[in-house]
């Protein structure tokens, strides 16, 4: 809608008629046009003002802090340029934390995506009590990460944990869920997966339901088997949604804090830092070791990592997509996408 035009029309319209309207004094006219011109800015300004204050300023200021020796209590020290970045990049604990983050991320993102696809495919049927089943897969989402961490920390207990007890009944030796690297990563990934798989399944389910059913019918008539239909129709059709799920789970996965923090309450990240994630290391650097300068450098490196992985994610999924669309279902897929919009 073009507001300016509407305005002039409103003013001009009565002119040919008998009496020019008594209202619309110049002041009122001016107020009205100001209203029109400035209201949009008024409506968006609270967001931008507050965001500048609590989003943008911290971002920029973090970089400023990272260029200094900066102590939690003593405050700003000497300007040291990129010195903090150099130290952090040579810090083996930093690389350790990156490795742990990536490992936990992969252990959660991949099974989560596959699991969510599977659950969504099961839910994408003519079910009885639809809402109940959907709610049942979403249930873990309402348990907060802190509560999830507490429950699973208990289940993964090394000496008296539910899982080791049950394994023991089958003659399997207890697993060192907290002290060994890979088991601890699996335990933490399990917490993340338990909370998020159902949520992602619902997102994928929504996309699957937007695929017109007649595409499946004609594919079946053409002799495409069930597997073929799933991989050639369903997956390419829900591609944008899968990219969305992958990207959000990347941003979330690289930032997990509550789960590793509470998995070992005494040592941040386990006795050997064997599951210390980067955010946990950032926290330790800033608020345990009080080195704000180095912590800020870690924050920025983490940010860059998230951006890079985001770009990699995006380009990989794009390439997969373009490979897919060369298959014969191309037309069907496009039709599906068109319908969704």
């Amino acid at each position: 809608m073009d507001c300016e035009n509407v305005m002039t029309v409103t003013i001009k319209r009565p002119a040919p008629a008998a009496a020019p309207p008594k209202a619309k004094s110049p002041l009122r006219y001016r107020l009205s046009s100001w209203d029109l011109k400035f209201s949009p800015y008024l409506y968006i300004s609270p967001f931008f003002l507050l965001f500048a204050l609590v989003g943008l300023f911290p971002l920029v200021y973090t970089f400023w802090v990272s260029l200094h020796d900066w102590h939690l209590l003593k405050g700003q020290g000497e300007f040291i340029g990129l010195g903090n970045f150099a130290t952090v990049l040579q810090d083996r604990f930093f690389w350790n934390s990156l490795g742990n983050t990536m490992s936990i991320f992969l252990l959660s993102a991949i099974p989560q995506l596959i699991g969510a696809l599977f659950i969504a495919a099961v839910l994408d049927q003519n079910l009885r009590a639809k809402t109940f089943w959907r709610m049942s897969v979403l249930l873990p989402y309402v348990v907060t990460p802190v509560a999830v961490a507490m429950i699973f920390t208990n289940m993964f207990g090394e000496e008296q944990g539910l899982i080791n007890n049950v394994l023991g009944n089958f003659g399997i030796d207890p697993v060192n869920w907290r002290t060994d690297t890979l088991p601890s990563h699996i335990a933490i990934a399990t917490m993340v997966n338990w909370r998020w798989t159902g949520y992602n399944a619902l997102i994928l389910l929504a996309a699957m339901q937007a695929v017109p059913r007649d595409i499946y019918e004609s594919a079946a008539i053409d002799g495409a088997g069930a597997f073929r239909r799933f991989f050639s129709i369903t997956l390419p059709s829900i591609r944008p949604t899968m990219i969305f799920v992958i990207i959000t789970s990347t941003i979330g996965g690289l930032q997990i804090f509550a789960e590793p923090r509470l998995f070992d309450p005494t040592d941040p990240g386990g006795p050997q830092r064997n599951f210390q994630t980067t955010v946990l290391y950032l926290w330790e650097m800033g608020f345990q070791r009080n080195n704000f300068g180095k912590a800020s450098a870690i924050a920025w490196l983490l940010f860059l990592l998230i951006v890079i992985i985001g770009i990699v994610n995006f380009s990989i999924s794009k390439r997969i997509a373009s490979a897919d669309s060369k298959k014969p279902t191309n037309r069907a897929q496009r039709r599906a996408e068109g319908k969704r919009k």
């Binding site: 809608m1 409103t10 009205s32 011109k37 949009p40 409506y43 609270p46 967001f47 609590v54 989003g55 300023f57 911290p58 971002l59 200021y61 973090t62 495919a121 099961v122 994408d124 049927q125 003519n126 079910l127 089943w133 709610m135 049942s136 897969v137 979403l138 873990p140 309402v142 907060t144 802190v146 509560a147 507490m150 429950i151 208990n154 207990g157 008296q160 539910l162 007890n165 023991g168 009944n169 159902g198 619902l202 997102i203 929504a206 499946y216 019918e217 597997f227 799933f230 941003i251 690289l254 804090f257 509550a258 923090r261 509470l262 309450p265 950032l282 800033g286 924050a299 983490l302 998230i306």
Partner: protein, 301 residues
Amino acid sequence: MSILEKNTAGNKTSAPSRPGRPFRQRIFGNGLKPGYLTYGLLLAFFLGSAYPLWWSVVVGSRTNEALGLDWPPLLPGGNFWTNVGEVFDTIPFWTALGNSILISTIITVSVVTFSTLAGYAFAKLKFRGNGVLMVAVVATMAIPTQLGIIPLFMVMRTFGWTGEIGAVIIPTLVTAFGVFFMRQYLVDVIPDELIESARMDGANMIRTFWHVALPAAKPAMAILSLFTFMMAWTDFLWPLLVLNADNPTLQTALSQLQSSRYVDYSVVLTGAALATIPLLVLFVLAGKQLISGIMQGAVKG
């Protein structure tokens, strides 16, 4: 796997059921009705979702001895109220609950109000810079909040706000996601003619917003409220930094149970179960809206 595929796809294609194989059909389903296998899988998903929560109730109502049993107990014991008393003695549970409710409510009201205003402006009003500013909003969605905790903490300390719940509220008064979400919703939902005719009738901008945009925005506002409330309620890192043990949120208070020197797991799990009740109530009341919100967001986003 292949069995399931057959089943799922069988439904989608609504292929005619194979005659003479009633047993197969009952298990795998025919074209129209999913079979036992589907419901078996769904039941398994349900059990997997519910079991850890149930486990927290089982252990939370027993003593630590429950953890030593070879086979995990399936039913709750009689120690629940003792453990609840222990939780209340260890952490300021009611203060924490009150704080969490207050913080989440204020954040929700603020985010939804400002997001609706800005989302409406971006979706339906023409002004210079509309496109560029919207791109800025989308770009900021990718910025992880944890990046800014150090300056934010310094600001809070300078103003002496650490320890106050205001310090938790202020950084989350607006979210880029909220603006994006409201814009995506409103752009389709309000016909331009409706705004035009309101203007013709002499309504000024804010009246137009109030009488045209707001009623149309209500469903999306409800969904955004739910998600914002959840986000504020589950936040852990930031409250952990700026609040102290006497005036915590529910999440930071719970974590104290786990961090105490002598960890009594049955008490820890009682706390986890207690803290889950408020959101569980919300889930029972608004679960349908939550589901439709997630599913709508998927198609739109």
